[in-house]
């Protein structure tokens, strides 16, 4: 049984267009997704593909006007507000995107310590600070005094504690020194070996592949492919979706071919396959209907032509 299971999750919000006409905009559509204990799943995709919303949906901290359908379960139980209240900040931890997620008027050390923390956690955090080479003075600093890299390390150390069973890390590495990236990824790996599940959200495929077991590729609010990390090799022959292949080939060490076009801002604007407009193997039938997810070679893909 997977630790976290996301079932047909859709996230949408209501917007006013042209004055008083309401429109529902779906940003994440019918997402299926699971992660096991001890597993590291990377979620990659361009910005605006709904990755952060997924993280916030799992944590139950989406804005009030956002509607969700589908279900999320944790350890076999429906992850509702009651269960979240029990686990948030303890078993389930979030590593947020930027320093703006820290209270600007509170010293770092005071801020990291919450009511849920005992001596054990404080000790753990201290040793994490040492590992990241954050001096003791950092705890006495205010968030605005932290450099970009320091802030990332502080944010990682909020979550990477022993009691955590599920870490959702939302873009934890950009701005960090490469050594620190290795250190942070190492810490995630270590936690995973201890049975913790790590959901690693990033747009950096390379960083993801360093530690991930599986990679989920997001495109315009849809998970279009779920592949094993080993599938990312060579010219991407073992990858299933044209977008994933294109992403892989766009990396400098591969062919360095840019992908033309942009992803649609709203999935509701498009009838058929979301990637159709930019796809090299586009055919007439792609336009008719959104492709269902199907199994291909042990992975999941949403493409009619994938083999």
């Amino acid at each position: 049984m997977p630790l976290l299971e996301v079932n047909k999750l859709s996230i949408s919000f209501v917007q006013y267009v042209n004055g008083s006409v309401q429109q529902r905009i779906t940003v994440v559509e019918e997402l299926d997704f699971a992660i096991n204990e001890g597993e590291i799943v990377a979620v990659v995709g361009a910005s605006g593909s709904g990755k952060s919303l997924l993280a916030h949906a799992i944590m139950g901290i989406l804005p009030k006007n956002v509607e969700t359908t589908g279900s999320i379960s944790y350890g076999g139980e429906l992850l509702d507000e009651k269960l979240l209240q029990r686990h948030r900040g303890r078993e389930i931890a979030l590593v947020p995107q930027s320093v703006s997620f820290l209270d600007p008027l509170m010293r770092v050390g005071k801020q990291l310590h919450t009511r849920a923390d005992g001596e054990v956690q404080d000790k753990e955090r201290e040793s994490l600070f040492e590992r990241f080479q954050l001096g003791k003075h950092v705890a006495r600093m205010f968030p605005f005094q932290l450099s970009g890299g320091m802030a990332r390390k502080v944010l990682v150390s909020t979550a990477a504690l022993g009691r955590t069973r599920l870490i959702i890390a939302d873009e934890p590495t950009p701005g960090m020194h490469p050594d620190d990236v290795a250190e942070a990824l190492g810490r995630f790996k270590q936690l995973a070996e201890g049975g913790c599940a790590v959901l690693f959200i990033t747009h950096d495929i390379e960083a993801a592949l360093q530690i991930a077991d599986k990679v989920a590729v997001f495109y315009a609010g849809e998970a279009i492919e779920l592949a094993a990390a080993e599938d990312f090799q060579g010219q991407g022959e073992r990858l299933r979706h044209p977008y994933t292949k294109a992403l892989w080939r766009a990396l400098p060490q591969n062919s360095f071919e840019p992908i033309t076009g942009t992803q649609p801002a709203r999935s509701s604007d498009v009838q058929g396959c979301l990637f159709a407009a930019r796809c090299s193997s586009y055919a007439e039938e792609c336009k008719a209907k959104r492709p269902d997810s199907r199994e291909v070679r042990g992975g999941m893909v949403r493409c009619l032509h994938a083999t």
Binding site: P63, G89, S98, L105
Partner: protein, 331 residues
């Protein structure tokens, strides 16, 4: 830290001196340009009994026959020695009149300031936490309505209800009529202050409540509140730990920066309730053409507003870590 305060105070004092000089020049120029004949307003109702010669004597006594620049220099020189001239209405040095009345007004304004600040802040927090509920709508419409209401009219309504209709409170004045000054008790003074204070507070609540409400809504929508929630904080704990911490400072600053409105409100409230404070003196001076007193009051109220703004500024720079530490790093 102490050093910082000294530098801050020094800079502010220089600014204050420049400001008071500017205000003096502009006020003096305005009054000098006025078509009003100060001798005429001094004589007032006695106009039939005063001859041309006496008029000239009066003018000479006040130095009104001298050219503008000379008068200004003389007045400014006296001002620098702490002499603001003699009030024409009260026949007393202006400094005395202002000092005595300031005590009355200061008490009135202090009560109203604290009351409106506390109630406004709480109302703002309550409205923000229950955003879009009936409570929020009630508080919002109260504030918007009060912002469009003449404060002296509020005073009239209060007087009608509490003094005339219910008879709980005295109609006006600072002390009971017909009682010797030494027999007036503090309880009497307080009873006479209730309605002016209420009038001032009722109006003063609106800006602070609306500001606090918006600020708290913004804060509660911010990323760091999201993250705090993601780490298991919620309810009152979350509000106290992260919410209030981030809205208290702007609220205090706003409250200090509102000294000008407070003074204006006091002028009206004191007039309604015949309360013997600075505001009433300002009106009297304006109505009866008491130029020295009016000029003194303009300077005094400027000083008052400046003090409020300086305190607001001080709180921001010295309490907000973002400004405090950035400055130290630069130094």
């Amino acid at each position: 830290m102490l050093n910082g305060i000294m530098v801050f105070a020094g800079k502010k004092l220089i600014r204050l001196a420049a400001l008071l000089a500017s205000v003096s020049i502009i006020t003096f120029a305005l009054v000098a340009m006025s078509p009003i004949d100060p001798v005429q307003s001094y004589i007032g109702a006695d106009v039939m009994r005063v001859g041309a010669e006496q008029r000239q004597e009066i003018a000479a006594y006040w130095g009104l026959d001298r050219p503008f620049l000379e008068r200004f220099m003389k007045w400014a020189a006296a001002l620098l020695q702490g002499d603001m001239g003699t009030s024409m209405i009260y026949r007393e040095p202006v400094t005395h009149v202002i000092a005595e009345r300031f005590m009355h007004s200061a008490l009135l304004m202090a009560f109203a300031w604290l009351l409106s600040g506390a109630i406004g802040f709480i109302a703002g927090v309550a409205a923000a936490l229950r955003k879009d509920s009936w409570l929020d709508r009630l508080i919002k419409s109260y504030c918007y309505t009060l912002a469009s209401t003449p404060s002296f009219w509020i005073g009239l309504l209060l007087m009608m209800v509490f003094a005339v209709w219910l008879g709980w409170l005295p109609v006006g004045m600072g002390v009971p009529a017909g009682v010797l000054a030494e027999n007036v008790t503090w309880a009497d003074r307080l009873r006479h202050m209730v309605m002016p204070v209420l009038t001032l507070s009722v109006v003063g609540i609106a800006p602070i409540a609306l500001h606090t409400r918006q600020k708290l809504i913004d804060v509660m929508d911010s990323d760091f509140i999201l993250f705090a929630k993601a780490r298991g904080e919620r309810g009152i704990g979350l509000l106290l730990r992260h919410g209030l911490r981030n809205i208290a400072l702007p609220a205090i600053t706003l409250q200090f920066a509102s000294f000008g409105e407070l003074f204006g409100g006091a002028v009206l409230a004191e007039q309604v309730f015949s309360y013997p404070g600075l505001g009433q003196a300002t009106v009297e001076a304006g109505l009866r053409g008491d130029v020295p007193l009016l000029m003194g009051l303009v300077l005094c109220s400027t000083l008052f507003v400046f003090t409020g703004n300086a305190l607001a500024d001080y709180f921001y720079r010295m309490v907000d870590p973002r400004l405090r530490y950035r400055k130290e790093e630069r130094a």
